[in-house]
């Protein structure tokens, strides 16, 4: 069961939309809009790490940035720890910043190349707390040691470390304030396999150690299955399926989810999955297809799919999907 009642809600996103303007003409007015996120509902509870999966252009990276108010939302409401994020005045956003941190995909450019890593990790502390230099130094030491880095490394510069080590430094920076939520944006896709395994294990043990909840954006479903209890599958700006990770991956209900899972390369030919071949390429987010956005590539598309957008229905407890072919009479969102 995913909905662990009693756990406080960290993120509550309702009908969130984020459109980016395409400017053109003499006066550079918006002539079209890229619908990066087009109506997303999502709830993330403490203790229920959630994954956002989907291919490039599905809006998952944009969504997390809208949640953190790195980009302002075009429409919809976002509540973080019960407080409104969308309408919040710029100066009052510190409650978000203190309780939600982010780790980025690129380990080479996510650390200031001219700052020692001690300073890099200390930055959240210097911005949000009034601790003395000594106290900050101790917190930094602790954070580095949690990521199996030596505190002597605090005086060194990022370029002296490998990609995997830099990502650990970035994670140390993210957890130094002991936030409730850490957003991981493709945390290991730029890192080698062995280093990735080290980081995934570290992240898992941290979840218990300091009660961290992750919102993991990834195109790699296996990474998500290792870190997250729940997963939301996105396609062209919408969530097409959501539920407990194990259940969604074992019994995917949406054709896109099935295609994603079947595309994962297999090692042994014994358990060869049935490959779901998708025709065509991802349509443009500027003029998404009518009706169900996936219908142009869906191997199971029928006539009605191009006419109306499917509603999100609860096909099993805690497991929702937006597809006409899931004919379970259940609660409609």
């Amino acid at each position: 069961m995913v909905q662990l009642t009693g756990q406080r809600v960290l993120i509550e996103a309702t009908r969130v939309k984020k459109y980016f303007p395409i400017k053109g003409g003499l006066l550079q007015r918006p002539v079209a809009w890229v619908r990066a996120v087009d109506g997303v509902d999502l709830i993330v509870r403490q203790g229920v790490s959630t994954g956002l999966v989907g291919e490039s252009g599905c809006g998952k990276s944009t969504l997390v940035r809208v949640v953190l108010r790195v980009y302002p939302a075009t429409e919809g409401s976002i509540r973080f720890l019960g407080q409104d994020v969308v309408g919040c005045p710029e100066g009052k956003l510190s409650f978000v910043r203190r309780n939600a941190q982010m780790v980025f995909q690129d380990p080479y450019w996510s650390l200031n190349p001219r700052m020692t890593i001690g300073d890099v990790v200390a930055e959240p502390l210097t911005v949000h707390t009034r601790l003395s230099r000594v106290e900050i130094g101790e917190q930094v030491k602790e954070a580095l040691e949690m990521m199996r880095l030596s505190s002597a490394d605090a005086q060194r510069y990022p370029h002296e470390f490998s990609g995997g080590q830099r990502q650990r430094i970035a994670i140390a920076r993210a957890l130094v304030l002991r936030p409730a939520l850490i957003i991981l944006d493709e945390p290991t896709s730029a890192i080698d396999v062995l280093a990735q395994a080290q980081i995934l294990n570290l992240l898992r043990s941290l979840q218990k150690e300091i009660n961290l909840t992750y919102l993991t954006v990834s195109h790699d479903l296996a990474v998500v299955s290792h870190l997250c209890k729940a997963v939301a599958v996105m396609y062209l700006g919408k969530v097409v399926e959501y539920g407990p990770t194990k259940e969604v991956f074992e019994t995917p209900l949406h054709p896109y989810t099935r295609a994603l899972i079947s595309a994962i390369p297999e090692f042994d030919s014994v358990n060869k999955r049935q490959r779901v071949v998708l025709t065509g390429s991802v349509p443009s987010a500027i003029k998404p297809p009518s009706g169900c956005r996936f219908h142009t590539r869906c191997p199971e598309a029928e006539e009605g799919c191009a006419e109306r957008e499917p509603q999100t229905v609860e096909a099993a407890p805690g497991h929702t999907v937006a597809c006409f072919k899931v004919a379970t009479p259940g609660r409609v969102h």
């Binding site: 953190l68 790195v70 956003l93 510190s94 910043r97 203190r98 939600a100 941190q101 982010m102 980025f104 995909q105 690129d106 450019w109 996510s110 650390l111 200031n112 190349p113 001219r114 700052m115 020692t116 890593i117 001690g118 300073d119 200390a122 930055e123 959240p124 210097t126 911005v127 949000h128 230099r133 900050i136 130094g137 930094v140 605090a154 005086q155 510069y157 370029h159 970035a170 920076r173």
Partner: protein, 293 residues
Amino acid sequence: MAVGASRSTTLKKLKYSVYLIRKNTLTTVGFSIVLALFLVALLAPVIAPYPDQALGATDMSQTLLRPSWQHLFGTDEMGRDMFSRVVYGTRISLWIGTLVVGLALLIGVPLGLVAGYTGGFVDEAVMRFTDIFLSFPPLLLAIAVAALLGRSLNNAMISIAIAWWPWYTRLIRGTVVSLREKPFIEAARTIGTSPWRIMTRHLLRNSISPVIVQASLDFGSVVLTSAALSFLGLGAQPPQPEWGLILNTARNYFLVAPWYSFFPGMAMVVTVLAFNLVGDGLREVTDPKTRRL
């Protein structure tokens, strides 16, 4: 001081910088000459054998003498010792360079930082404003200022600084624009770092390197420009021992006393060359990737 660094690290880093400078012979030469120039400027009253002559006192019995042991660089048409005048001229040139480049940096860098990071309307406004100043040829501006405020070295320096700052704005803005999309800036925003802090802690140190290199190179150019202005009568006024001014008078006596033009001219060449070498050397020293420390 940085949280992670200790006193010993700063010392180590300094030592390493010196090591890098010494490794490259040309850079060492450049730095040594610049150091020597500053020493000469500082100790001018002690080094110059005829300090009062440097400042204008004349001795009509010793006009246009060849270089000798009493007058290492010879004398000018007013009998003044050239060596003392060139030495005192160092003070003026270094003062000009420091003031003008310093002023230009002080105006140009913050503008470029703000424009580059803020983007949008502010960026447009600042850059158009900068463009206006870019289109002023320093010489014409100096003439205008001289006409308005009178001819003096200080006025010449102000006009050069006004003409110079836009280059730094452009330079740093370009770097900042490419940096602001980098993940570490986005990270600073998600941490909650204020824009002010982002600009000073993150953007400045990553974008200042080309500016510093340019400023060192400009030091020499500023000295040359000021000499040109003095040459035209717009900057230093007689009897100031400014090298350009000396050259102005020297050209009248070129055939008779070639040493008169030679020494101030060489002084300028050496100064400009030294600062160019320093600029190139700084480029290497300030890049953390080429350093091990």
